[in-house]
Structures are given as structure tokens and as C-alpha cells.
């Protein structure tokens, strides 16, 4: 055994030893999660499952407001019942229909829970409801401070600081106009107010009595039937080979077509068009236009009309007003299409007045734009 082999063997042994005992093949112990667990008996588990299947009646009952002391809520009556309240001198026979039968659909009176019973209250928080606002927009915005100027962006007021090293240009505070995501009617607003605070604090749930053990044991589900093997598919038949053609003439034709096509492409690409707009750039344009697309004054028919509007843009991102035109419409008549087009045109002009934020190097990609204004989600429901 020569010296080289000895050195090599020693080195390998040392390396293998280091790998085995030095920790290279030992990974750090995975982090573990501690979970609190409580052992429940079979009967307790059955009791929990029974409770989960109880219909949630309390949440759906239309509970009437308790009348104020000395005040009775008026009953809806046919029109002829109204004179009864003023008791006219001739004292005519009451034209009102006879006593109205009790409502079958009306919810029964909600019995007051006994002292030691708790109401079931869902633990999930109710869906937050919108406040009514004069403006409905894709994003809700709180009411701005009284002295705040309405603007798309929020920025604090800047006042000149005499002691500062650099003079900062003063500017007034701005904030977006108050907006809600959906129309809120008085009825919905009232519901919110009613739901906002429960009439009384909810008592904690009493621990349920231990139920009797179930008399029957649920049968284990039978084994599912084995799935049938799918039928073997027949192998596709090989396609017949194309017949040989006269390649020389074909090639000449292809060469001609190729040359013509490349020639056209070369003409078209004389000015750089840049890569296509990214999804983010398209989204930014869409958001910029929809901010000014006001459908609040449109008729209900115009709100059912989708219009496609074409516009050519200048290189600084401004729409050329004269080029805005209606390409097509669907869902409404000509008058409705005109109203919808007018609203779309106003949106393009208003929000494009200062130029849309579009990449200049891709001008050829957005020089001509077709915008589809689809008001489906903005209709009165």
C-alpha cells in the first residue's frame, strides 16, 4: 500500500466519520405545536352532535319591538278603516271589514327565556353593514373631516414651519369623498341599528345535563362497492400519411407568401410598439376610468345597456375628444344607448383630462382603445 492510498483512505474515513457524527445527516427537530385537548366521553360527544343539529330558530324569528308604555303601534288597515280614528259626528257604521284574523305567517311571540336558560347566539361576527352615503363607489371611504378638500388621495395638511431648515410648500389636507359600496335604504339602516346593540346582555350558557347513553349504536357504513375498471380504450388508429406533393411549386408559393407577410410586418413595425401592456397597467387604466364613470343619473333602461366605446389617445395619455365614438351597444334601445354612451364619454374625458398613467414606451399598444362599459353590477336591485 503506497503512501497516497493511505492518505486517501485516512481522508475518506475522516470525512465519513465527520458526516456521521458531526450532525450533517441530523436535521433539527421540527417545531411542534401544542394543542389543548380535553377528553370527552362517548355520551358527551353524542350530546354535542345532537345540539349541533338543532335548528337555529332564534336567529330567524322576526321579533317585534316591544311597544312603549302607553303607546300602541298602529295596525295596517284597509283604507276604509281610517275614519274610525277621528270619530265623525254622523257616526256611520264602520266601513272597515270585520276583525282581521290573526296572521298565520306571523312569528309567534318570542317567549322570554327562563332565568337559567341562555339564548343561542352565534359566535361569528355579523357581516358589517354599510352606512348610507351620497356616493356609491367600488371602495368605501369614511366621511372626511369638515375642512378637508375632496381629492382622490389622502394627505395631511402642510403648514410652513418657520424654524425648519427647508421651506415646505403649504398645502391643505385632502381626503376622498365619503362613499359606500352599496345603496343603503332606510329600512336596511334601521335593521342595522336594531342589530347593533342587543336589548339585554346574554347570560352564559348553562352546562347541559349529561344525556342518557344512546340506545342504538350507529352502524358503520358498509364498504363501498369497488369501482368498476374503466373499459380499455381502443387505440387510436394511425392517421394515413399525406400523399406526396410537388414540393418545388409549393415551396415557391410558400416563399412568396412568407415574403409578402414579412414585408407587411416590416412596414407595421417601423415605429416601436413595445411589449404589450401588463395586467397591472391595464388594471390601472380600468380603475382610472371607472372612478369617473358615474351611472347615478342614468335611466333604468340605460343601466341595462352595455356600450363599447372607442377612443384614440395622444402620446401624453390624453383622449382625443373628437375620436370618442360608440362602436356598439346591447341590452337597450337607441335612446338608452345614447345615455349610456354619454356617461361613458364623460368618464373618459373627465378622468383623462390630465392624462392617463400609461407607459410612453408602449404608446403603440394603447394608441387606440376600445372600452366596454358594462353596468350589470351597478343596476338598482
Amino acid at each position: 500500500m503506497n503512501t497516497g492510498q493511505i492518505i486517501s483512505g485516512t481522508g475518506h474515513l475522516a470525512l465519513i466519520g465527520w458526516a456521521l457524527f458531526g450532525g450533517s445527516f441530523q436535521s433539527a427537530p421540527p417545531p411542534f405545536e401544542v394543542v389543548q385537548a380535553t377528553t370527552v366521553s362517548e355520551s358527551e360527544f353524542a350530546a354535542i352532535m345532537d345540539r349541533a343539529e338543532t335548528p337555529d330558530a332564534v336567529a330567524n324569528v322576526d321579533t317585534p319591538d316591544p311597544p312603549e308604555e302607553g303607546e300602541t303601534a298602529p295596525q295596517e288597515t284597509p283604507e276604509a278603516e281610517q275614519p274610525a280614528e277621528s270619530d265623525p259626528a254622523p257616526a256611520p257604521e264602520d266601513p272597515a271589514p270585520p276583525e282581521q284574523p290573526e296572521a298565520e305567517e306571523m312569528a309567534p311571540d318570542q317567549p322570554a327565556p327562563p332565568e337559567d336558560t341562555a339564548l343561542m347566539v352565534p359566535e361569528v361576527a355579523p357581516r358589517p353593514q354599510q352606512r348610507p352615503a351620497p356616493r356609491v363607489a367600488p371602495e368605501s371611504a369614511p366621511e372626511p373631516e369638515p375642512d378637508t378638500r375632496v381629492d382622490d388621495e389622502t394627505q395631511p395638511e402642510v403648514t410652513p414651519d418657520e424654524g425648519a431648515d427647508t421651506a415646505e410648500e403649504p398645502s391643505e389636507a385632502t381626503a376622498p369623498e365619503e362613499a359606500a359600496r352599496e345603496i343603503v335604504t332606510e329600512a336596511e339602516e334601521s335593521d342595522e341599528a336594531q342589530q347593533a346593540a342587543p336589548p339585554a346582555a346574554v347570560r352564559p350558557r348553562q352546562r347541559p345535563d349529561r344525556p342518557d347513553p344512546p340506545s342504538e349504536v350507529a352502524q358503520a357504513p358498509s364498504d363501498p362497492e369497488p369501482e368498476q375498471d374503466p373499459e380499455p380504450q381502443s387505440e387510436p388508429e394511425p392517421e394515413p400519411e399525406p400523399e406526396p406533393r410537388q414540393q418545388s411549386s409549393d415551396r415557391a408559393a410558400i416563399d412568396d407568401a412568407l415574403a409578402a407577410a414579412l414585408g407587411e410586418a416590416q412596414q407595421d413595425t417601423e415605429r416601436p410598439s413595445g411589449p404589450p401592456l401588463t395586467g397591472g397597467e391595464r388594471d390601472a387604466l380600468r380603475v382610472a376610468v371607472q372612478r369617473c364613470w358615474n351611472v347615478g343619473s342614468l335611466s333604468t333602461e340605460a343601466l341595462r345597456t352595455t356600450v363599447v366605446v372607442a377612443v384614440s389617445m395622444t402620446e401624453n395619455g390624453r383622449p382625443e375628444i373628437d375620436t370618442i365614438r360608440l362602436v356598439g351597444s346591447s341590452g337597450g334601445g337607441d335612446a338608452a344607448a345614447k345615455q349610456a354612451f354619454d356617461a361613458a364619454r364623460r368618464a373618459i374625458i373627465r378622468c383623462g383630462n390630465d392624462g392617463f398613467d400609461l407607459p410612453a414606451e408602449k404608446y403603440d399598444q394603447w394608441r387606440d382603445i376600445e372600452m366596454t362599459f358594462n353596468p350589470e353590477s351597478m343596476r338598482i336591485r
Binding site: 254622523p90 271589514p97 312569528a107 356609491v136 363607489a137 380600468r286 345615455q339 364619454r345
Partner: protein, 441 residues
């Protein structure tokens, strides 16, 4: 091999050409979310042709602005914020000045007097951002004391051109004017402009009057009165306030009348022997035809705009609910299935919706639903809301709201069918039971 490669390359290039060509088309984006907010507009004082028309020019523009802004669909740009000044009706408009104050629509006009009694109003509507007029200029003329009607007509035209729907400003409302405490309330019929102006009384308060209803042409009013001791239906001519009682069966009570759209028939409720059913009467002949025959209470009928169907209220299912039947009677179909009691249904002039009163959970609501009962929406909620009536364009609903307590008063309110723009109509004293008439001609 080389030939094959070249051929393949050529075919691929040809295949890709359409895609290249398509890529060079316009950029296409879809806008699906916008905003719903009042459209900002400007209406500078109309130009006065002569110093004597100065006040009238200002008053006209203020009524037009009140009409438009009162819809909740428009927001006036305050005159203090105007940069541009319109000193001549004929001069071209400096649109940039109005764009600068963010006005999307501009209304300019001129008023002049002709003789001692007549006035002429000319106006134009401008689409500021398009830099062009919105339609042709128009001119209205009339008597001086009818200046508010002229202003309403201008506002109707503006509303119509911008929204695409007919306006409702030049219309009137008949209602029950109320005065005195709740237990001794005097009631009389009155008529007013839609905005509460120009109130005129049609009856005195010597007897109780109820439920006035305009005819489709606005020339007559049906109402119920206790003048004879028991409720009877009267028809009143609005022009000369002449009236006559409609014939009814001996020993019966008739109430809740409503005109058919053609104005030649009346559908109403009649109680006889403790049972209330619906009848239709030919106004000229006085002949009545029974439409329903059930032991339950059928009342509050209202025709569809085409006159072919009637929606009404019945408790045949145990609680008051809404039903629709043919105008000549027959099987009725229930359309309301929500929780609570439904009443006083009124068919929209457009024919697509039915407004109603609903009592549920100890509160009263005004709501709308489609004629098949779907898409029910509650627009209001209060101690007592009832008796909806539609604006002639089917966009706004007026109704009675009564406040709680012994001192509670009835007032007339209006609300947009979207549930926005809920507001009280200014009336002198208490008011209830409004019935909105058609646009005046």
C-alpha cells in the same frame, strides 16, 4: 430535411400572422364598476332681456336648480364657485370655465316679457365635457303667474335629456290636508304642485274625506266622503271643482276607488252584509260588475297601466297579502310571500313594479316588488308609513308618514325607488294620502 424545416417554418409563420395582426388591434378593456353619485351641473341665472325681467330670471333658475337637485340625481355647483359668466344667451359658451369647476352639465337661458302678462323663456343644455349642446335649444311661453310651471318644464326637459327618462316636475298631487289635534282632526281635499307649492283646497272640512285618486289624465279626482253619513265615492272635476256621487247599492258602503287607465271605469271596494269585495263601475252608466266573490276582505285595487290586470289586497290566506287577477275578475294569484302584512298595492306607471305598504316586526315600510312578487325591496322604515303613490315617470314614490304619540302628525314624504333621497314634501300643516297626477300638458 432542410426542405421540410423550411416548409414547417413557413407554415408556422403563416399561422402566427393572424395573431400578430390581432395584437395590433385596439387595446380592449372592460369597465364593470363605476360610481353612483349626483351629476354635478351648473345653472347660472338666466339672462334677463330687459331690467324688469331681472328678478324673474333669477327665480326661474332657482326653481330649476331646486327641481334637479331635489331628485338626488343631480348636484348643483354653487354659483359662488362659477368662473365663467353668461352675460349673453347667444354668445358661445366657454366650456373650459365650466370644466374647471367640474360641472358636467350647464343650463343657460334667457327670459323676456311680452306685454304685461306673457313671458318667454329660452334655454339650452350643454354637455360640458363634450363641449357641445345636448340637443337643440327650446322655448316655452306662458303667463307670468304660471312662471313656476315654465321653470318645471325646463327642468323636466333637462332631466329627460340627461337621464333618458321623462321628468315629473310639472305635475300635481292631490292629498288630504289635515289640521287640529289627532282626536279632532279636520280633513279636506287639497291639490298642490309636486314640490308642495300652490296649494289649493278642493273641499271644506265639514265632512271627512279619504283616499283621493287622480285619473290618468289628471282632470278628475275620485275620493271617499262621509258627507251623507256613510262612506260614498265622489268624482270631482279639478277644473271647476264640480262633483257628483257615484251610485251604489242600498245599505252598502263603497270605498277605495281607483280609475281605470282609460278613465271610463272605476274599480272599488264594497261592503255589504259584512263582506267586502271588489267591483267595477262604468262611470257613465253607473252599472257595477262584481269582480271577486269570497268571504274574505278584498280591497285597495289598482290597475296595471295597460288596464288588463288588477293588483289588490286580500286576507283570504289569513293575513293581508297582495294578489293579481284579470281586470274582469277570475282566479287571483298571490304575489307576496314575505313575513308580515302587505297592503295598499299600486302598480307603477312603467308596469314593471308594484309599490306597497308592509307591516313587519312592529314597523311599517314602503317597498317595491316585481309584478311576480320577486325582488322585494323595502325602501323605508318608521312608526307608520303607508299609502304609496308613483311619480308619473315611475322613478319616485310619495307616501304618508305619521309620527308617534298624541301630538303625532301626518306628513307626505318621497323616496327614490333605489331607496335614496328620502325627504319630506313641504306642505302647510299636516298632509296624508297623496295621489300623484300625470305630467301636465
Amino acid at each position: 430535411m432542410m426542405r421540410t424545416m423550411i416548409s414547417l417554418l413557413a407554415v408556422l409563420t403563416l399561422w402566427a400572422l393572424p395573431a400578430i395582426a390581432q395584437d395590433r388591434g385596439p387595446l380592449r378593456i372592460e369597465i364593470t364598476e363605476g360610481v353612483i353619485e349626483p351629476l354635478p351641473y351648473a345653472v347660472p341665472d338666466f339672462v334677463a332681456d330687459g331690467s324688469e325681467a331681472q328678478d324673474m330670471a333669477r327665480d326661474l333658475s332657482r326653481v330649476i336648480a331646486a327641481d334637479l337637485s331635489g331628485t338626488g340625481l343631480f348636484r348643483e355647483i354653487s354659483q359662488d364657485a362659477h368662473i365663467g359668466r353668461v352675460t349673453s344667451f347667444e354668445s358661445p359658451v366657454e366650456y373650459a370655465d365650466w370644466r374647471a369647476v367640474n360641472a358636467e352639465a350647464l343650463i343657460t337661458g334667457k327670459v323676456r316679457f311680452e306685454g304685461s302678462d306673457r313671458m318667454v323663456v329660452q334655454f339650452r343644455i350643454h354637455d360640458v365635457f363634450a363641449g357641445d349642446e345636448l340637443g337643440d335649444g327650446l322655448q316655452f311661453s306662458g303667463t307670468r303667474d304660471g312662471w313656476r310651471r315654465i321653470a318645471h318644464k325646463v327642468a323636466d326637459e333637462v332631466y329627460s335629456r340627461i337621464t333618458g327618462e321623462d321628468g315629473y316636475f310639472d305635475s300635481r298631487v292631490v292629498f288630504v290636508s289635515e289640521s287640529g289635534p289627532k282626536d279632532q282632526r279636520a280633513k279636506r281635499l287639497a291639490i298642490m304642485d309636486y314640490d308642495g307649492e300652490n296649494v289649493q283646497y278642493l273641499t271644506d272640512s265639514s265632512s271627512i274625506v279619504l283616499a283621493p285618486r287622480f285619473s290618468a289624465t289628471g282632470d278628475r279626482v275620485l275620493y271617499t266622503s262621509y258627507e251623507s253619513g256613510s262612506p260614498r265615492i265622489y268624482v270631482l272635476d279639478v277644473a271647476n271643482v264640480g262633483r257628483r256621487v257615484l251610485p251604489t247599492l242600498e245599505g252598502s258602503m263603497s270605498f277605495a276607488p281607483r280609475f281605470a287607465p282609460d278613465g271610463r271605469a272605476v274599480v272599488y271596494s264594497l261592503t255589504q252584509g259584512g263582506n267586502t269585495d271588489l267591483y267595477r263601475m262604468n262611470i257613465d252608466s253607473g252599472d257595477s260588475t262584481r269582480l271577486t266573490s269570497a268571504p274574505s276582505i278584498e280591497t285597495a285595487p289598482s290597475y296595471s297601466p295597460d288596464g288588463n290586470r288588477i293588483v289588490f289586497e286580500s286576507d283570504r290566506s289569513g293575513t293581508p297579502q297582495l294578489y293579481i287577477m284579470r281586470a274582469d275578475g277570475g282566479e287571483a294569484e298571490r304575489i307576496s310571500f314575505g313575513q308580515g302584512r302587505y297592503g295598499t298595492p299600486v302598480w307603477s306607471p312603467r308596469g314593471d313594479l308594484i309599490a306597497f305598504t308592509k307591516q313587519s316586526g312592529g314597523r311599517f315600510h314602503i317597498g317595491v316588488m316585481r309584478t311576480d312578487g320577486s325582488e322585494e325591496r323595502l325602501l323605508t322604515a318608521s312608526f307608520l308609513d303607508e299609502g304609496p303613490t308613483w311619480a308619473p315617470n315611475g322613478r319616485v314614490i310619495m307616501f304618508t308618514r305619521e309620527t308617534r304619540g298624541a301630538e303625532g302628525q301626518s306628513r307626505v314624504y318621497s323616496v327614490d325607488i333605489s331607496g335614496r333621497n328620502l325627504k319630506q314634501v313641504d306642505t302647510p300643516g299636516g298632509a296624508s294620502d297623496p295621489s300623484w297626477g300625470p305630467l301636465q300638458r
